[in-house]
């Protein structure tokens, strides 16, 4: 392996990335917009997890004034009350899961309707019933509050967004681009030079890691200025984990790039891998409590281990020793993907 040739290909790939202004801009803008969007949605006071329709109310808008429904229910946090003109209109909304429960204004006994297939409706019904319990019912319970600084949802979500951006950029930026180069003959042209496959693949790998880390830094600073994220652990540990995550995801991209000349097929494979990875790696929500087989699938994705380690450091203040299992798995996945990718690689098939 000659370092000079590797460096030449590394520099050429970086130039391509930085000069492709559309792709370059989108790499920064996409995660920034998502984080900013979620900050607005979840950071404001108007966000509600549950929606209860109240009728008859005209016009059909969110209700802020006092209603003739149980007072305890009306003061429940995270429930948005939506005015509905009639029972028929409310039932339609309920069937379509646009509201989770429908209640008629009036005096006791109150009439309400639920959708039997709505999990949120079930919880909201329990809340309605609980709001009618005598106040001393709470004496049977002992309330404890978590001590220490609270982790905002956006603090939990932020690593997920960064990881997702990394995942898409690594898989598509390597997997798709190399296949396109194979199809249009760039790889064939490079094969005619003394450049070796190992040099070329190493250059692709290093270039993508450099670009991912650079993007990460810029997006982090930009989002931090706006939303001021807390990092409970060490920034150095965080950077190390992100680096290993980049390496692992890019190595996975190299496996996908190793063969094939069909951009359509590669695109399908990339979607087939990236979408389940996005949903099961806890980018958006926790899969705690999901069936065991879901956890097994999630464990096969490097993004799962990357996000687990990053959240432990960022949200819980963990050190490198605490995230050693994740680091070991990411390292092993990287090793396997590099060996498979390098051994399967073909310049023109």
């Amino acid at each position: 392996m000659r370092f000079k040739r590797l460096w030449v290909m590394f520099a050429a790939r970086n130039l391509e990335f930085f000069r492709d202004r559309a792709a370059f801009g989108w790499n920064f803008l996409f995660p920034f917009l998502i984080v900013a969007g979620f900050a607005i949605v979840f950071g404001g006071k108007t966000f509600s997890e549950y929606k209860a329709g109240v009728f008859p109310v005209d016009p059909p808008v969110a209700i802020h004034q006092r209603m003739e429904i149980p007072e305890g229910f009306q003061s429940t946090k995270y429930v948005e009350f939506v005015g509905v003109p009639s029972l028929e209109a409310g039932l339609l909304l309920l069937k379509q899961h646009k509201i989770d429960l429908l209640i008629r204004q009036g005096t006791a006994p109150y009439s309400y309707w639920t959708n039997a297939s709505s999990p949120k409706g079930y919880v909201l019904e329990k809340m309605l019933i609980a709001s009618l319990q005598p106040e001393n019912a709470a004496a049977l319970l002992s309330r404890q509050v978590v001590q220490g600084k609270q982790v905002r949802y956006i603090d939990w979500l932020f690593p997920g967004i960064l990881g997702m951006n990394m995942m898409f950029s690594a898989l598509w930026g390597v997997g798709y681009v190399v296949v396109r180069y194979r199809k249009n003959g760039v790889l064939k042209r490079l094969k005619a030079t003394p450049l070796t496959a190992m040099e070329y693949l190493s250059a692709q790998l290093l270039s993508r890691i450099f670009l991912l880390m650079f993007t990460l830094l810029v997006v982090w600073i930009g989002c931090d200025i706006l939303l001021s994220f807390d990092v409970a652990g060490s920034y150095f540990d965080l950077a190390l984990v992100f680096f290993l995550g980049c390496l692992s995801l890019t190595a996975m991209g190299l496996v996908l790039a190793s063969r094939g000349t069909s951009e359509e097929f590669t695109s399908g494979i990339l979607n087939f891998i990236s979408w389940p990875m996005m949903f099961l790696s806890e980018v958006w929500f926790s899969i705690e409590g999901a069936p065991q087989w879901v956890h097994w699938i999630a464990a096969a994705f490097p993004l799962t281990h990357l996000l687990s380690a990053v959240r432990k450091i960022m949200n819980d203040g963990a050190g490198l020793a605490d995230v050693m299992p994740e680091l070991a798995i990411l390292s092993a996945m990287t090793g396997v993907c590099l060996v498979v990718g390098a051994s399967l690689f073909s310049w023109n098939e």
């Binding site: 000079k4 050429a12 130039l15 492709d20 003959g185 003394p194």
Partner: protein, 247 residues
Amino acid sequence: MTPLIEARHLVKTYKSLTAVDDVSFDISRGICFGLLGPNGAGKTTTIEMMEGIISATSGQVYYKGAPRTGSFNEEIGIQFQHTALLSFLTVRETLKTFQKLYHRTADIDSLLATCNLLDIQNQYNDRISGGQRQRLLLALALVNRPELLFLDEPSTGLDPQARRNLWDIVLNIKSRGKTIILTTHYMEEAELLCDEIAIMDHGRIIARGTVTDLIRTHCRDDGTGRPCADANLETVFIQLTGRQLRE
């Protein structure tokens, strides 16, 4: 004298299709060797096996009297028939990028001048015309001062002016003693540039020699009593490969 490159019994099969069927020939130093044939005759497959781009099903390629080694790619230059280039690089940057992949290199400014690329050296290589692009691909093939140059249909798709300009450049390169292997569909191009020609059809070499030899050996009287003196390479080509349309 040992030939510079030699193909011995080259065969390439794709499932049930035999693209190249036991092809053997050798090429002396300093000549321009033309490989002609209709579409699908096996020209590109043959030279890509000689370049080492694709592997032969059987047969060998000898370079300077021995099997090719790792340094083979250092000593050859290739202009492919179909190829894209790295995006968002200028003509000069593209040449410099490829130049740095080799030990022995040509001077970029001389190369730009030789291939008439000085005026467009700072343009992105995806914003240049077809003729400029072919000249850039030729310059890339020369970036390592190769001993052996492969040109696979270098003038296909060019207008007459661009084609003649390319021929002048190839003649200039040839005058410096480079060995060239050229495939082409243009008989005029082969007659002008090539010292020796092989005609392929159905994966085999069916005739070989200088233009004069080929005309003398293969030109047949068409029955009208006219002598073969009027014949040219195209006449021989059609007589050998037939008038049937090839796709």
